[in-house]
């Protein structure tokens, strides 16, 4: 995203000259991705043919993303929009889609992609009630943290690119094949790293590492949040601490946004190790790509779960 150094001046000029402003024709396909992970997939497959904007920043809590002017502008000009789906981005995507009024990327249009479509969901609620907290009717939405879902998500992105730009299909497919091979190699690497993790327990702050746990056969004993999206209560923390001690759980995994006081309290009371891992890529140099992010997650978890 381009940022402006003199926003007030830009805005005043914009107010005066808005009638003259237009959409500059772009040679490259304009793609908006909701999170940096998806932007990375688009870059890997689209290469020089695409220009990608990510709405969320790599360090952001996806429940607290603030839509900004550049997002609205990018959405209004996009040829392709890529989201995870399953209500992960519900706090900002519906408003942006409605206000952007871009028919090319409306749900159901060729330029609309939900990468979670077709991936076996976790935690699909039996009963839809806010008693269960901020649950997602379509199941756990954090598919981007499933180390086995890379090829699936990349395939959804490929399909979207081909739909909106069929003339470049051969180029996209060639890049996809190369990327898929790298993904396959990475998945084998992560699987090897996780040998010996099976059955181990951990606690997470938010219910966002379920797919990772399923892939690595880890057991998530509980969450610091009392329910998804609901901050911890003292009673809940007391019960969680007792459970962790009873089961010998020594690892708490958290995203950067949730590494907070409640989490530190539980770590202190249980002696557990806090493992901070990215929940989307782009938050640091090491996690600049999706593969890099998964490398980092496996390395940090491995350090805590398989100490030398």
């Amino acid at each position: 995203m381009v940022s402006t150094g003199r926003p007030a001046m830009t805005l005043l000029l914009a107010l005066l000259l808005s009638g003259l402003a237009g959409t500059a024709p772009a040679e490259r396909l304009r793609v908006v991705a909701t999170i940096p992970d998806l932007a990375d997939f688009v870059r890997e497959i689209g290469g020089e043919r695409v220009e990608v904007t990510s709405i969320a920043r790599g360090t952001e809590n996806l429940h607290a993303v603030v839509a900004r002017p550049s997002h609205l502008v990018a959405m209004s000009r996009a040829d392709l929009f890529v989201q995870v789906g399953r209500s992960l981005e519900v706090s900002f995507v519906p408003g942006l889609l409605e206000n952007a009024r871009n028919e090319r990327i409306r749900p159901g249009a060729p330029g609309f992609v939900s990468v979670a479509d077709g991936w076996e969901p976790l935690d699909v609620p039996v009963e839809l009630s806010r008693k269960a907290g901020d649950i997602h009717p379509q199941g756990n939405p954090h598919v981007n943290l499933d180390p086995r879902a890379g090829t699936h998500m990349a395939t959804r992105v490929l399909e979207g690119l081909v739909r909106v730009d069929p003339g470049s299909e051969a180029a996209y497919r060639a890049r996809f094949e190369a990327y898929a091979a790298r993904l396959k190699a990475a998945e084998e690497r992560w699987k090897a790293q996780a040998e010996g993790w099976r059955g181990k327990t951990l606690v997470s702050y938010h219910q966002e590492f379920g797919y990772l746990a399923r892939a690595r056969e880890l057991e998530i004993l509980g969450t610091i949040e009392s329910r998804p999206g609901i901050p911890a209560t003292p009673n809940h923390l007391t019960e969680l601490i007792a459970l962790m001690k009873q089961r010998g759980c020594t690892v708490i995994v958290t995203a950067p946004w949730s590494n907070n006081r409640d989490l530190k309290l539980v770590a202190e009371k249980t002696g557990a190790t806090v493992v901070e891992v990215p929940n989307q890529c782009g938050g640091s140099e090491a996690s600049a790509s999706w593969i890099g992010m998964m490398d980092l997650i496996h390395a940090r978890l491995g350090k805590a779960l398989s100490p030398p």
């Binding site: 805005l11 402003a21 900004r68 609205l72 009024r101 028919e103």
Partner: protein
């Protein structure tokens, strides 16, 4: 009988009957759209399938407070109030239009606060970023007048807005909105609204218990209207700046004093203002700072002065003077959220009041808001009002608000 007309009418009626679906119809009864049931094969036998029902919501807003008015024990004391019970429904009408209504509890009944349809299908005439809204809805003025009272950052709308525009102003009419990109990181929106009337139902500072009225039928130039232009731009990677200017005009209205049989006719009122808002969030999006303010001028026939030398109403010595003046007011606020669940802030508002005494009134609100989840919150408020021609007051309030279901008013940015 004209056979051609009869034949045309027959075909038109046949088409309507064919399109009306399974509902049994007799001549002269309304035709309803057909709605398929949940089962693809047998659903067509059910007239009352609910699969396409709107999204419903309701909101409960409760306020308990203690007010201390200087020198007035009658106005001081504790109170508790179900301030708002709001019920709303919203749904897509077709791919280009969505509709909603907002009903709210009123003293002994239930009123329609908003009911409108948004139409977004103007791209056919080259206006892909335009929308039309028709019905009853809150006016697009500044940053706060579109919001319902339970959605505000503080307990009440800023004093200057209450004084110059009204606590809540919904008009029956039509509004055109349009936005367009200005570069890669800024956008500009404007709106024009035409309404049958924008006089507030309640005014914060009533003048002489007058009834303000608009003509039932009006010339085009007597219609009330609003206009707003606003632009917002990215500031660095974490901030957003928004600037705006707004106008509300009532070209002709009357003021009636029924007690004394007095009237002032052919009055006009115009309020205009500028606003600025800056928002910043940290890398996680959890910590946020919002700063903003708005300055307003109310001009035209802004106030009234009733004089009654013998202090007995209806004796014929009363006179009604119209105060034709411009008054100025403003508000500013600072809000800090240190997580999604905790925020605190202050809001200050001051306004010249269009009354005979030329009062200056100011209000300071300090507040703390605790969200228990995304769907309910508790707020503590300390509000102080200083009035240079009347008694000062202090208010300590607790507000509890719960949001159930889809909450979708037609609020523009």
């Amino acid at each position: 009988m004209n056979p051609a007309r009869s034949l045309t009418a027959f075909f038109l009626l046949s088409a309507a009957v064919a399109a009306q679906g399974p509902a049994f119809q007799t001549p002269g009864t309304p035709v309803y759209p057909a709605v398929p049931g949940p089962q693809a094969d047998s659903g067509q036998a059910d007239r009352f399938a609910s699969v396409f029902n709107p999204a419903f919501s309701f909101i409960v807003d409760v306020v308990g407070d203690y007010v201390d008015v200087d020198g007035s024990s009658a106005e001081s004391g504790f109170d508790a109030d179900l301030r708002v019970l709001e019920a709303a429904a919203q749904a897509w009408v077709d791919p280009k239009a969505w509709a909603y209504f907002v009903g709210v509890s009123e003293d002994e009944g239930f009123g329609i606060e908003e009911a409108a349809i948004h139409y977004n299908g103007l791209e056919a005439i080259g206006l892909e970023h335009s929308s039309l809204r028709a019905g009853r809805f809150f006016i697009d003025f500044g940053k706060q007048m579109q919001q319902h009272v339970h959605e505000l950052r503080t307990l009440e709308r800023p004093l200057v807005l209450r004084a110059y525009l009204g606590s809540e102003v919904a008009g029956d009419g039509l509004q055109w909105d349009h936005w367009l990109p200005a570069g890669d990181t800024a956008a500009v929106r404007w709106s024009l609204g035409l309404f049958s009337g924008l006089l507030p139902e309640e005014t914060e500072f009533p003048t002489a218990d007058l009834e303000l009225e608009l003509a039932e039928r009006k010339d085009f130039g007597e219609l009330n209207f609003t206009g707003r232009v606003t632009g917002f731009a990215d500031v660095g990677t974490s901030g957003t700046l928004q600037l705006g200017a707004s106008l509300r005009a009532i070209p002709e209205y009357d003021a009636l004093d029924e007690v004394n049989g007095l009237a002032a006719e052919g009055l006009e009122s115009t309020v205009y203002g500028v606003d600025a808002t800056y928002g910043w969030s940290d890398d996680t999006g959890e910590r946020r700072v919002t700063l903003g303010g708005e300055a307003l001028v109310s001009s035209g026939d802004t106030g009234f002065a009733l004089t009654d030398p013998d202090t007995t109403p209806g004796t014929g010595d009363e006179t009604l003077a119209v105060l034709d003046d411009s008054v100025f007011g403003y508000y500013g606020f600072a809000d800090y959220a240190w997580s999604r669940f905790h925020s605190a802030g202050a809001q200050f508002s001051a306004a010249e009041i269009p009354d005979a005494a030329g009062s200056d009134v100011s209000e300071l609100e300090l507040y703390y808001t605790r969200w228990f989840s995304e769907f309910h919150r508790l707020r503590l408020v300390l509000a102080s009002i200083a009035d240079d021609t009347s008694a000062d007051s202090l208010r300590l309030a607790v507000q509890y608000t719960a949001f159930v279901g889809a909450h979708g008013h037609g609020v523009n940015w």
